[in-house]
Symmetry: C2
Subunit: 710 residues, 2 copies
């Protein structure tokens, strides 16, 4: 007898009640979904990870971290900020072992996996290695770099660094920082000083309880002249005692929305003296006699900034995958409302067209961000290789600068819209879990709180989106002037054919192809970029200077950047899918087209405004979006399975791979909240319940008064 | 010498540096804004509050609560869940004094104010008075009601109640709850039982550490027959000892996204016996011999449910006002980036067109929700008065049922879209504060976490929006059949004139009137409702039953409900403003038109799809939205001042009335995070910094091995 036959035999002996219980059993429901896979899940995992090797490395990492007692995550929602902070430092310390014993690539993979598990830890560790060491690499001369590395910056011996850029009164406007670094020629020292309350360094990760040194951004002042913001290494504390050094005042900035594992702090400097050599002098140099030598190409210092942005596009895809793993798995087993024909068996959430509409486009978007993130990574690495090997006098430096500009603008827009997309995905996933989405243990609430900061740090999203819009306007003007643009904005070289172009599909059914959606996005983007550019030029004609003119048309810039980014995401996705062969092709094509139609539908106003699609075509696209939601829904569990996140990484009873959500959820709640003595019954509740209510608050309200009026 | 002259005299003696410091001083910046008021702020406060008396009462409440030491809120972000829970119970107990000593209206005002200050407390108190007592009032016969009131349900002596409806496996589908209440004729008792894990009562507010009794929703089973979900009062604990009663098992569900002041719990019943009289029998009755008498009009039991929804529309307006008070005040004093012409003085955030775009439409929306909330309240009270005085056999009962249906559907849609709007407003306000929005002390992060549950409880927003859409479809079908509809959907009686209608404005400039926007919304809504209805009918023709047909067209239903709700909000706002006279009229008109244009712009796809506006008109509307953002920006501080929320209620250093944000923020951070000993330097950091790194992890890696290969 085969397993299936045995199962059928068992089934035949079930009562109707047992049969119904079987049908709604969450584990059975999950297996049912998994069995629908139209493709080899493992193949898709390899495709997403970039091969079998990387998949296996990631699996090894997930297992290793899960087994590390320091990385226990089950109680993360119930420990105090103080415990969390201490535990985070303990993890920090334990990382040194891996850092010293594994290859850079392996360690990077470890960090990528950890960023999904414990973003607070990842930030605390990243402040030293990403920001502090990064500031050294970008700003120190070769000799200075060796000095700080020898002093222990890389090995974390003798020093832990933090990155003191923002001030309480100054965030995005780095040139406007108030902290001063005044050269004192007599002593050959810089004097670091916080002149006002608003100059207090603020949000400095690691300052409160980790760092001994800071890379401080301050206004360089030499012989009374200001040279703008430069970077200085300032020792904060004695590494032997952790006592503050003279003139340094530091405090904890306390409770945040999320990422409480990192100890952000504030710093005030009162005439703190550092040797001249502690100014990082790769670009600007100050000599012993106070001569200041400024660099030729200011832009080159921005290269390193971009890495964080590119990483956030990738992270937006990864965090979306985690959120969707929870919401989609829960929707596959959660049942609600019985259909009259269904013998009392309630319907799976995933079978409701409206639930498909809530989650499937977001699932498609996660894939779009994945493919785009990979592409951005390659673009960034290519650009940095060229940048590192080029010298300012190289003949192809102009081309490198052009690449830097494109990477800068593209990563700015994508960072903004991808982090917004991801934050929205988390919240939509949370709401789609109904009441349980409000439990901390579901994981989505904390994910929201942890992720939210990504919309603000390393460039506020609105400001970045405006930068991207500014680049689009200047690209438009260059295109008009006859310049050949770089690929991302290349469509602006075809303005004549794009403006006024309508969809050429003969029949309404023909609009659902990648080519048409790509063309549609190009037409719409060409129009909105043109409008923004014309608005900008009108502002110039009206007498505004360039900056004011850009401010004045900021809404149009933002709109152009938004549509450009959506069009970009779709094209990257479509191009990525076009390279795929075999079994994976049909499902990825469905996911890709769902993303395309959904973005058109969401921005139908623009497609109608510029008349690329007719109202009838838009109606058809709306209907086809429903059809594709249904198609992707059938593969939804295999698709989230392909993300290959272990139960430990997902860390949510609702997102359990086996589908046994209620058992895991109840167990988790009981383990985290053991039943015990009532903490305040005797003090607060008993006296209330047993109070004498007859006389109200006062025993005798007359208090002996004989009322004459009565 | 007048004050102004003295000020000028002082100014003349300032150095340029002092003058600049003066110009950017946040208090000066705030005063500057306040001086721009084009209307009497106090008059607007009275208009919003409903008169001078209510304003003064609210002010008295704000002051009284601020002075109550139990309601200290400065440390709310830094105390543990356990402390918060205990403190919340202490407030709970202290409320009894006010409840017994003040009028119902005064007490209601107190609760309204408290709900803005401490939503967690408000929920915990509301579980007893709103839900438990409400369940008695809706479901108990007159005799039963007296019994429970005499037993202490109103005075909170001898008992505290909770409301045990949802189960871990069942939320929105109340008829599908699994808990059973089986009549045992022999003992004249009901046996309350939790048959499965998924039947565990879940999310029960007050169950963990407050309640002695629960109103339990369970399947009534008499003589083997099921009669659907009814309500039973089940004693949970001995009020003397707080020990669980036999068969009752209760636990804490632990950490949530927000509102941690309330002790949500889970409950399992194992054959718990209660007297027959503990079933609430206002509607369905069970006699001593097990005869079941069912009510004539099932709908009447839903009336009480609506109150919560209406309250949430009002609350969405109020919470939005609080969030906007913080974000707008901060934007009036925060400065960022210096204009080349501005002598180094940075620009106020509020002066950036893009920042106006981020906040002004949301400010307008808060007003729209305010006016609509007041209207909904009146509609609800009117309906309930009629309902309470009507008996099932009254001739005008049909009309009352019609009113109930309209209130039900309208409040469903508005609850959904207003709570979504408010949640979005909070998040947009938070992001608009830049990095500081991520600090817990800014208040917006906690506000988001506290408010988020409103999108789920008392009717999941998606399900409510779909109900509203279903009502729109059935109203459409009734209109086609010739029935005169109630006012909210009355436009569906004019389908012939609305479908296909285009904006009749002669010039593009003429589109900015309330009449045109109202008509535009009616045209668009008539179209989308018609489309949804046609889609529904096609599903019926294709052989689906009514429920399946509704599911199939759910995306169109949701879309129709969304647009209908936006159109409804605008009309209520415009009608409210049309009644205002005098100085307040112009500014309210600006705010109202901004809301109208913004909603059109946001839904431009629909207005273009149904060709009410041309692309050119939409372009004009986009441009005019910018113009109105600027106009409302000039009055932004007076407008948020008119909300009249005291600094204590706002509880955010960034939202301080005096504008002195950095001083208050820094003070708050220092007070909440006093500098002290490092908690784990010696244990974790010192050994890391001082470790011997020469030998790596192992002192002698060769360990005596003689390697042959070498």
């Amino acid at each position: 007898m085969s397993a299936q036959q045995r199962l059928n035999a068992v089934k035949q002996h079930l009562t109707p009640e047992q049969e119904r219980a079987n049908a709604v059993d969450p584990v059975n429901s999950m297996n049912e979904e998994r069995a629908k896979a139209s493709f080899n899940i493992r193949d898709l995992t390899h495709l997403l990870d970039g091969g079998k090797g990387p998949s296996e490395l990631r699996e090894r990492m997930m297992q290793e971290i899960e087994r590390d007692p320091l990385f226990a995550m089950h109680d993360i929602h119930d420990i105090s900020k103080e415990t969390l902070r201490e535990r985070t430092m303990e993890k920090f310390r334990s990382m040194i072992h891996h850092l010293q014993n594994e290859s850079v690539d392996t360690f990077k993979k470890r960090m990528e996996v950890i960023s999904l598990i414990d973003p607070g830890f990842w930030t605390r560790f990243g402040v030293h290695y990403g920001l502090f060491v990064g500031a050294l690499q970008s700003n120190a001369s070769p000799g200075q770099l060796s000095y700080w590395f020898e002093k222990g910056a890389l090995s974390l011996s003798g020093m832990v660094g933090c990155f003191a850029m923002t001030e309480i009164g100054h965030g995005s406007n780095v040139p406007g920082l108030e902290t001063t670094a005044t050269f004192d020629e007599a002593s050959d020292q810089f004097i670091i000083h916080t002149p006002t309350l608003t100059a207090t360094k603020w949000w400095i990760g690691g300052a409160a309880h980790s760092a001994t040194h800071a890379s401080v951004f301050a206004q360089l002042i030499v012989k009374g002249k200001r040279y703008g913001t430069k970077v200085f290494v300032v020792p904060l504390r004695d590494p032997k005692t952790y006592n503050l050094l003279p003139g340094v005042n530091i405090g904890d900035i306390g409770k945040k929305m999320g990422r409480d594992g990192i100890d952000n702090g504030w710093i005030q400097f009162t005439n703190v003296r550092i040797p001249r050599g502690y100014m990082l002098q790769k670009h600007t140099k100050v000599s012993r006699s106070g001569e200041v030598q400024e660099p030729k190409l200011q832009q080159l210092t921005y290269g390193a900034l971009l890495q964080g942005r590119v990483a956030m596009v990738v992270d937006s895809g990864n965090v979306s995958k985690k959120a969707l793993t929870i919401a989609v798995r829960y929707a596959a087993v959660r049942r609600q409302f019985a259909n009259s024909k269904a013998n009392g068996i309630e319907t799976k959430l995933l079978d409701y067209p409206i639930h498909q509409r809530r989650l499937m486009p977001l699932l498609a978007q996660a894939f779009a961000m994945h493919f785009t993130g990979s592409e951005m990574n390659a673009m960034y690495n290519n650009m940095m290789t060229r940048l590192d090997s080029a010298s300012p006098d190289d003949p192809d430096m102009a081309e490198v600068i052009e690449m830097l500009k494109e990477t800068h603008a593209t990563s700015a827009g994508l960072k903004a819209f991808c982090t917004w997309n991801c934050l929205n995905t988390i919240e939509q996933c949370r709401q789609s879990c109904g009441g349980h989405g409000y439990s901390a243990y579901t994981g989505l609430a904390g994910m929201y709180n942890d992720f939210a900061v990504q919309c603000t740090w390393e460039g506020d999203n609105t400001i970045l989106a405006l930068q991207s819009g500014r680049y689009l306007i200047s690209s438009y003007r260059e295109a008009i002037a006859g310049k050949k643009l770089s690929p991302g904005v290349g469509y602006l070289n075809n303005l004549n054919t794009l403006i006024g172009k309508r969809c050429g599909a003969a029949k309404v059914e023909d609009v659902v192809t990648p080519e048409i959606i790509i063309e549609g996005w190009q037409v719409v983007c060409a129009n909105v970029v043109k409008n923004a550019a014309l608005e900008f030029e009108e502002c110039l004609k009206a007498g505004l200077d360039t900056d004011d003119a850009y401010e004045q048309c900021s809404q149009s810039r933002l709109y152009a950047a938004r549509l450009h980014s959506y069009g970009y995401l779709f094209r990257r996705f479509a191009e990525g899918v076009s390279k795929v062969e075999g079994d994976l092709k049909p499902i990825l094509m469905d996911v890709c087209m769902l993303y395309g139609l959904y973005t058109v539908e969401e921005n139908a106003g623009a497609f109608l405004q510029y008349e690329y699609f007719t109202p009838k075509q838009i109606e058809y696209i709306r209907a086809q979006t429903n059809v594709l939601c249904k198609a992707v829904r059938d593969q939804a569990i295999p698709l989230v399975d392909s993300f290959n996140l272990s139960d430990y990484v997902v860390n949510s009873p609702l997102g359990r791979r086996d589908g046994n959500v209620y058992v895991h959820y109840f167990d988790h709640v009981k383990r985290q909240n053991p039943q015990g003595e009532h903490p305040y019954f005797n003090r607060l509740i008993k006296p209330m319940l047993e109070r004498d209510i007859e006389g109200g608050d006062y025993e005798d309200e007359e208090a002996g008064l004989e009322d004459d009026e009565e």
